[in-house]
């Protein structure tokens, strides 16, 4: 009987010990996680919901406290703000045309990089160099490179090709920005190169035996095998495309002459007025913080819908080896 009592006592003790150890373990984990937990609450959770709240208010930030206006900001945005639609159209242009062009270009360069047997390292370094150039410096460089008397037009003139005014012409300013983006696709090149070199060679050998052409091999082996990487680049490209800001801001303000021709946000003629630039203007130049918050949530919803649509479409064209996912 005495033995039974001690056994009971020890199980209770052990349980208590285990509970105490479990609590200590939880504390240790919390300590390790604490920088992220605080940052997550401070920089993500609170601001997200605060933005949502502000989007239903009129608020200039410092002086007035937010005044509830219901759906007014959203209503104004959709029905009475032509610049909202203009900036959205410009942004969709850069996402729908710029991003795919950059991906196709990066893939072509990466493919060309797999061909030479020697010197790959040097080529890769040279292709990657422009990616290191800070966005502001790259934009400043391209303002000169694409200026009316600049080197690009000199080369075009030499080839008897038309010489557009690029950043001074509303029809050519966005293509100019796409060129600027293509100069810095090094990261995508490196990722595509790694993926291309990962495709098992026995697949190509088998196709050779069947007498497949180079295009057939590319279409039916290379593309499916690297489709996860193409998918990843597309998702990232779309998310960042909607947030396109720095280059367009620098180009818009940095081009044009003095006086009436002077550049400004979105210049020339609002052709480089992208969504985030309009948002920045509304929020931090006009201090329409409530209005800017509404714009931010609209952007968030658009990006979410596009990302989810891409993910939804992925099981039709993305091939995961071994049925992963």
């Amino acid at each position: 009987m005495a033995v039974a009592v001690t056994v009971q006592a020890t199980t209770a003790e052990r349980q208590q010990l285990r509970r105490r150890r479990g609590r200590r373990r939880a504390l240790v984990i919390l300590a390790f996680m604490s920088p992220w937990v605080i940052g997550f609450l401070w920089f993500y959770v609170y601001p997200m919901f605060a933005t949502l709240y502000f989007s239903f208010t009129k608020y200039d930030g410092i002086r007035l406290s937010p005044r509830w206006v219901g759906l007014f900001n959203y209503q104004h945005l959709f029905t009475q703000d032509p610049l909202f639609w203009k900036s959205l159209a410009n942004t969709v242009w850069i996402v729908a045309i710029g991003t795919p062009l950059q991906i196709v270009f990066a893939l072509s360069v990466a493919w060309a990089l797999t061909r030479p047997k020697r010197g790959q390292g040097i080529y890769r370094t040279l292709y990657f160099l422009p990616t290191m150039v800070p966005a502001v410096a790259a934009a400043l460089s391209f303002i000169y490179l694409l200026s009316s008397n600049g080197p690009v037009n000199s080369i075009l003139r030499l080839l008897h090709l038309p010489t557009p005014l690029w950043f001074l012409d509303p029809a050519w300013s966005k293509p100019g920005l796409v060129l600027l983006g293509m100069w810095g696709v090094g990261e995508a090149i490196v990722i595509f190169l790694a993926a291309l070199l990962d495709v098992p060679t026995h697949l190509y050998e088998a196709a050779d035996i069947e007498g497949a052409s180079a295009w057939q091999k590319f279409r039916n082996i290379t593309i499916p095998m690297i489709s996860p990487v193409i998918f990843f680049s597309t998702v990232i490209g779309v998310i960042y495309g909607f947030q396109y800001f720095t280059e367009a801001y620098v180009v818009g303000l940095g081009t044009g002459g003095a006086g009436a021709n002077a550049g400004g946000l979105g210049s020339p003629n609002q052709s480089t007025l992208f969504y985030t630039i309009q948002l920045y203007h509304q929020g931090f130049e006009e201090f329409h913080l409530g209005y800017a918050s509404a714009m931010a949530w609209v952007l968030f919803v658009i990006v979410m819908v596009c990302t989810l649509a891409l993910i939804r479409s992925s099981n039709r064209w993305v091939y995961y080896q071994g049925g992963f996912r």
Binding site: I191, V229, A262
Partner: protein, 303 residues
Amino acid sequence: MSVASDVSGRPADAAALLAGRRVPPSAAKRRRRLIAVGNHALAITFAVMFVAPFVFVVLTSLMTQHQALSRDLWPHPFQWSNYRTIFNDAPIVRYAWNTVVYAGLGSLGVVLSSVPVAYALSRIRWRGRQAVFLIVIATMMLPAQVTIVPLYIIFARLGWLGSLKPLIVPAFFGDAFSIFLLRQFFMTIPEELIDAARVDGANEFQIMWNVVVKLAKPAIAAIALFEFLYAWNDFFGPLLYANNNQNIFTLSVGLQNFTTAHRAVLFNLQMAASIVFMLPVIILFLFAQKAFIQGITLTGVKG
């Protein structure tokens, strides 16, 4: 090019085989050499496209103001004094110092705060770990615009506008991309090493510090490098929080401001300033190329 050699080369080879003679090695060799030449020609064409802008920018940075606006592509005379002029005309040293402070402390903060989080997400087992990791990933997808209005107000209330604090302090609270990259790397560390340390009575902090951090030096270097670059290139953050205080302008905001003040008239000085701005990171890249490329491949292929 290779197609043409196919057409002309193959029947001859076949005929030679039929005749029972050895295929002349020179024909095959020549064909292979032609393909190699074609491959390199393509690779060199791309290389020229990527490098030419640098060449033009450097050349223009050495021109006179008048010449930089002309169609000339070669400086005549070489005006090396442009580089002195920009240091006199704009407080570039001040801008550079601010940029170094932002990038340096930012990298330090990201490393200090992201390592323990990545450790807890990869090497300690607990319920909900996977869910938290997914939330970390999700924060990377969130457009920055969704949070900037309240953050701006918070930093204004704290009296931090017009200082570098809104740029540096958040780095000390974990960076999702760095946590992700470190976690991927920590997962590859063999379990036996960690178990051995546990058997020896090491606590989690000791295991992280003595085992994991020691083995993960390349990954830690990569995230420090990425954060340094991010801060060096960052334009939106300094633009927003500098609040027109010139004393805390970073190179990106300072140079953009300088250019807008002299738009399209001082190409030579603008190009010189761009070179000064890009040179440090390009040198950094040439020295730390391996860490960069590995870091990018790690996130891109396994992500």
